[in-house]
């Protein structure tokens, strides 16, 4: 977790990685300072976390065989094998189930540390 109280894990999402690439280019071209890039990323961490909390309703359910689970440093990890993932609220009328051999779930505490 960053000092601002938000996780940095969404930087590895497609939108996050693309933002990091763009910031790298801007720094390399001398168009922004590195400190500004870091502020942008801090803001990104906060905004993504807030948006995912406040503006999303999507849910998915899954069934499978729990292969591994662990809880370390406030992070849960589950590995589920032969997993059937059902996406709710999709308009896909022809079926909305995805079958995967292995599903890895990494879950962090949404509350700030110390609460």
């Amino acid at each position: 977790m960053s000092s601002s109280g938000y996780y940095e894990l969404y930087r590895r999402s497609t939108v996050g990685a693309t933002l990091v690439d763009a910031l790298d280019t801007l720094i390399s071209d001398g168009r922004i300072e590195a400190s500004l890039a870091m502020r942008v990323l801090d803001t990104f961490d906060r905004v993504v976390a807030d948006a995912l909390r406040d503006k999303t309703q999507s849910k998915l359910t899954f069934k499978g065989h729990l292969h591994t689970y662990r809880f370390c440093d406030d992070v849960w990890t589950f590995i589920i094998e032969d997993c059937n993932v059902k996406l709710d609220q999709t308009e896909d009328i022809q079926g909305n189930t995805v079958v995967v051999d292995k599903l890895r779930i990494v879950a962090c505490n949404s509350k700030k540390s110390g609460e």
Binding site: S2, S3, S4, G5, E8, R11, R12, A17, T18, V20, D21, D24, T25, I27, S28, A34, S35, A37, M38, R39, L41, D42, R46, Q57, K59, D88, Q89, I93, Q94, K112, S113, G114, E115
Partner: protein, 1052 residues
């Protein structure tokens, strides 16, 4: 330096409403001056002269900010402090002399305050002895300076040094803010700016504990005094204040800033800043009732508390939370006293409802439920476990109030949000109950829990009724509330699922079934009620496997009106869809049909047991399908839902429906006619449904089954021949053929003894294919392809039909089991005629399936043939030019490397084309190509499927191209973007693990040629070999990449 006048002109043109074309140049010129050594003097000059415009003055304040961020010396800091503070005081005086005329100065004042805040942080982010000077409280310094007479510049330094440590007592502080509203506002603003900037600064610096301590010991005391003084004034002198909304807004903004700061800093500093007095005043303000404005502060304070309860509820201490609980609920879970303050809540809710202020009512609901969530676990423990000291009677009264609140009498989402937000509360309470250790439960707990959650479900049933959606549709012009209502219904489904773990089938599922079954369809059915019950029931039943729950099927069977009511729901939906064209009717009828058909699909295992009910159901579904296939309908969703339901029922009840085959075949023939009104989706799905039934029609051996198949193929072929020029219809008919082929695949492992006993007969029959169905099929396909061979959609469906049995095991019979040669010939013909960018991907997909199916019989020569025929021959130039096609080819090679790598390694193209060309593709700019190519090389370097012979060949080849491979990889890595690094890192890890010694030598040769950063190269090599190919190697690669590209090490 340019003259001040010149700079002023540049600034004016920069901020002009119509900036000149060279605005970027002006901006750069000004930025250069701001950063230069003359920046400080410029800032001072711009702020000094009253005649200059506010834009120019603001630029002066901005220049101070630039200097502050670029300067690193303590001497400069003092100069910056001096300049900012003096100008702030001077401009504040001008502002205070006539606030309404000078209100535009506030922007400059705010910027100067922000600069001073930064100086304050810099002065205190170290231990005091290292600091440029001690500066404890900017507000006191400002008050002291403001109150002093203006001094000549030679005496200023001495005075400022004294003022840094001079304090202001409470009396003088209050006297200062009382002296004028403008000064009051300035003090509030300064305090707000400092804590807001401090909150932001917290995200960039790790250790600000000393600064927090200084704030706690000094600024906090002054700021709280001023804030609380203002809040008290608002309480007691409301009428006089009513004309001053700006000050009120400022007070609340300042309060919010302090709450955010306190919340962030309390885990990071010693001591704890207590805001209890402020909260007490806020609570009193919240409850203030002043006619004629009624509740002047309630909505603002509710929003403030809402934020606190949502983010950091323990900012309020236990006593304050109890007091809020009393206000909100009129009863506290911890005490028997009933709070008189609840009267306010009732009046406020009444006021909001009467005046239809639903937004504020929503805020109140959010605040109350977020507050309740804080003590959810506590309520759960006290209600259900045998914890001592809990007053049960009071607690049950508490739950009663919560139930009443959930049952708020208005329309959910449209008018009230209590029921919507309370879903989360009840869900958490339910999950909390389920997680309790059984030994801690009281004897009466299961009954109590069942009673509470039973009531909750009863409350939510009418709340999720589509009659409420109808009201929303009638009121809402946009769709946002509709989506919110749909989300609410989904949330209630989750609640019902959790409640099931408490209530079980007997108190929930059975009751829902009985409720639907009790409604007599002949005496006017409330379909909204049936829909709501069915909606929840479907969710509960979908989590069960009905075929393994005979008791549940018995319950469904014993409920006489159950199935008629569900069918009535679907029928009514379909009829309404046709009769009324309004948007409202369309949405509601679609929902009716969706719920009804989903439930029928879910209970199809029950229908399987009762042929009469199955027949009734199938008849109704067909009637509905007929009624809703209206060619003028603007949305075919209802038709799709009914078709999907028919398909599900046919799939589950395939054996029970074999007697319907002659009728279904007739319906199917009519459906496939070109002039039929059904959609293409229905044609395809129904063909599949029919296929399911034919698949289980095995009692009389393969011949009758083949006859039915032949009939359907004939119908499809006739349809194609009749409408040869209608491209969409021909494509639809071919897709129907493919669906038929899919339906004929036996699902799962066969357990039907009759089927197993006839397996060899069927296998033999289809090998001989006496009715020549395969030859009919290939002739039909060739006929169609002669006309549409370039069309990618036809190539796709053609490949799907020819490759239908490619994933089937040898022992499973299928009427489309073509020989490999037949499939290959078909694909070669399609390839020779297709447009590579659109057609080749479908062919390549099936090529992978062919390799996978026939891997044991294929030879490297076959692989050579595939590569030449599909990628290098006719399509070679297109594949080389199009990154998507390059990726397609590499992925095909990768699939072979996964399946049987020997096929690729020992083919002729391996050394002449694959290795050299894929080496060249490593520095690609396209992410997908990089992904495919690095995967290929990783599989070459490290592959568990290699035979010993493969391994020997590969070792030799990698050793000879190793230097080149390392060179290309590191060159590509150096020039790629950060998000693509991991692709190359994986390859490097494989090389480190499999070729440690030579790879080190290769790296030492290659890295210095890339860039001159020997320490980074040395570190990379060391780290790579210490991590020995583990995941940590990716970090080493990232660090090297950042160092060599001159980028900062941002944590990832």
């Amino acid at each position: 330096m340019s003259s001040i006048q010149g700079v002023v002109e540049l600034i004016e043109s920069l901020y002009s409403p119509h900036p000149p074309p060279n605005v970027n140049q002006i901006q750069q010129q000004l930025q250069t001056i701001q950063k230069s050594q003359d920046g400080l003097r410029l800032a001072n000059e711009l702020l000094l002269h009253n005649e200059l415009s506010n834009n120019v003055k603001y630029f002066g304040a901005l220049t101070y900010a630039v200097q502050l961020n670029t300067s690193g010396h303590d001497d400069d800091l003092w100069e910056l402090f001096r300049g900012n503070l003096l100008h702030l005081t001077s401009i504040s005086r001008t502002y205070a002399s006539d606030p309404s005329a000078n209100s535009s100065l506030l922007v400059i004042i705010k910027k100067l305050m922000s600069n001073l805040a930064l100086i304050f942080f810099k002065a205190n982010d170290r231990q005091p002895e290292e600091s440029f000077n001690r500066w404890d409280n900017p507000i006191e310094t400002f008050i002291n300076l403001f109150s002093s007479p203006e001094l000549s510049s030679d005496k200023i330094d001495g005075l400022l040094a004294d003022m840094l440590v001079a304090s202001v007592n409470y009396q003088n502080l209050i006297q200062f803010v009382e002296s004028s509203e403008a000064l009051n506002l300035l003090i509030l603003l300064f305090s707000e700016v400092i804590v807001e900037d401090l909150t932001k600064a917290q995200s960039q610096k790790l250790n600000l504990s000393h600064l927090h301590k200084v704030v706690h010991q000094n600024l906090y005391i002054s700021a709280m005094s001023v804030i609380n003084h203002n809040l008290e004034k608002m309480l007691f002198t409301y009428d006089q204040n009513s004309s001053r909304p700006t000050l009120t807004e400022n007070v609340f903004r300042c309060v919010n800033a302090w709450i955010s700061y306190t919340s962030i800093s309390r885990n990071l500093s010693e001591g704890r800043m207590d805001l209890s007095e402020t909260f007490e005043l806020l609570i009193r303000l919240m409850c203030t009732y002043k006619p004629p404005q009624s509740f002047p502060y309630s909505s603002t304070v509710v929003a403030i508390f809402g934020d606190i309860f949502a983010n950091d509820p323990t900012l309020l201490n236990y006593e304050l939370r109890s007091s809020v609980e009393g206000l909100f609920l009129g009863v506290s879970q911890n005490s028997t006293s009933v709070s008189g303050g609840h009267e306010w809540m009732l009046q406020y809710m009444n006021y909001l409802v009467t005046n239809e202020i639903y937004e504020d009512l929503k805020d109140l609901a959010l605040c109350v439920v977020d507050f309740l969530q804080v003590s959810n676990l506590n309520v759960c423990n006290k209600l259900f476990t045998s914890v001592p000291n809990s007053d049960q009677r009071n607690l049950q009264q508490y739950v009663k109030v919560l139930l009443q609140m959930t049952n708020f009498s208005l329309t959910p989402v449209l008018e009230e949000f209590f029921s919507v937000r309370m879903v989360d509360f009840w869900l958490d309470l339910c999950d909390g109950y389920s997680n309790l250790v059984p030994e801690t439960l009281k004897p009466e707990t299961p009954e109590l829990a069942a009673d509470i959650f039973g009531q909750v479900i009863q409350i939510y049933l009418p709340k999720i009724s589509l009659s409420n959606k109808q009201k929303i549709l009638q009121n809402d012009e946009e769709d946002s509330l509709i989506h919110e209502f749909d989300d609410f219904r989904v949330a209630v489904l989750d609640l019902a699922e959790s409640a099931w773990s408490v209530l079980g089938n007997d108190k929930l599922t059975d009751k829902l079934i009985a409720s639907i079954g009790e409604i007599n369809p002949s005496s006017g059915v409330d379909l909204f009620q049936v829909e709501a019950l069915s909606y929840l029931l479907q969710k509960l039943l979908s989590d069960m496997t009905l075929s393994e729950c005979p008791w549940m099927c018995d319950t469904l069977g014993s409920s006489s009106f159950f199935l008629p009511n569900i069918l009535l729901l679907i029928k009514t939906g379909c009829q309404q869809e046709n009769s009324n064209g309004s948007k409202e009717a369309h949405i509601l009828s679609t929902d009716f049909v969706k719920t009804g058909t989903s439930l029928i699909g879910t209970i199809s295992a029950f229908l399987k047991q009762d042929s009469q009910k199955l027949g009734e159901c199938v008849n109704t579904l067909f009637q509905c399908l007929e009624s809703c296939t209206n060619p003028s309908a603007n949305d075919s969703k209802v038709e799709l839902l009914v078709t999907k339901c028919i398909s599900e029922v046919c799939e589950m009840c395939r054996q029970e429906l074999t007697s319907y085959l002659p009728t279904f075949t007739k319906v199917h023939r009519a459906m496939l006619q070109r002039n039929s009104h059904v959609s293409n989706f229905t044609r395809q799905k129904f063909t599949r449904a029919l296929g399911y039934i034919i698949q289980s029609f095995i009692n009389d051996g393969p011949e009758p089954q083949a006859q039915f198949l032949s009939q359907i193929i004939d119908v499809i072929a006739d349809g194609i021949n009749e409408a040869n020029s209608d491209r969409d219809h021909v494509l639809c008919l071919l897709t129907c053929f493919s669906e038929l082929g899919s339906a004929m695949v036996q699902p799962g492992e066969p357990d039907d003894l009759l089927y197993l006993s006839q397996l060899s007969v069927f296998l033999n029959f289809w090998t001989q294919d006496p009715l020549q169905l395969r030859s009919k099929t290939s002739n039909l396909l060739e006929h169609v392809m002669s006309q549409y061979g370039k069309d990618p959609e036809f190539i796709e469906v053609g490949c799907l039909i020819m490759g239908k049995s490619l994933s089937l095991p040898e022992e499973k019979p299928h009427f489309l089991k073509f020989q490999m040669q037949e499939i290959m010939d078909f694909m070669v013909r399609r390839s020779s005629n297709c447009e590579p960018t659109t057609g080749l991907p479908y062919i390549a997909y099936h090529l992978e399936k062919v390799v996978n199916q026939y891997k044991s019989t294929l030879t490297p020569q076959d692989f050579d043939f595939m590569l030449s025929e599909f990628f290098l021959g006719q399509h070679g130039p297109a594949v080389a030019a199009d990154p998507d096609l390059s990726q397609l080819m590499v992925n095909f090679i990768n699939s072979v490397m996964d399946t049987r790598p020997g096929l690729a390694i020992h083919c002729e193209h391996w050394t002449t084309f694959i290795m050299p060309e894929l080496l060249k593709l490593l520095p690609s700019k396209e992410r997908f190509t990089i992904s495919a190519v690095t995967k290929f090389w990783t599989k070459v370097v490290n592959n568990k499927k290699f035979t010993r012979n493969d391994e020997i060949t590969i070792r030799e080849q990698v050793s000879s191209v190793g230097l080149q491979l390392t060179q290309q990889t590191m060159y590509s890595l150096f020039h790629t973007q950060r998000s693509d690094l991991n692709f190359y890192s994986d390859l490097l890890r494989a090389l480190v693990a499999r070729y440690p010694l030579p790879f080190k030598q290769w790296l030492m040769q290659v890295l210095p040629q890339l860039c001159d950063n020997q320490p980074a190269h040395h570190l990379l090599i060391e780290k790579l070999f210490i991590t020995r190919g583990s995941r940590a190697a990716a970090n080493a690669v990232l660090e090297w990449w950042l160092d060599c590209n001159g980028l900062p090490h941002v944590s990832q």
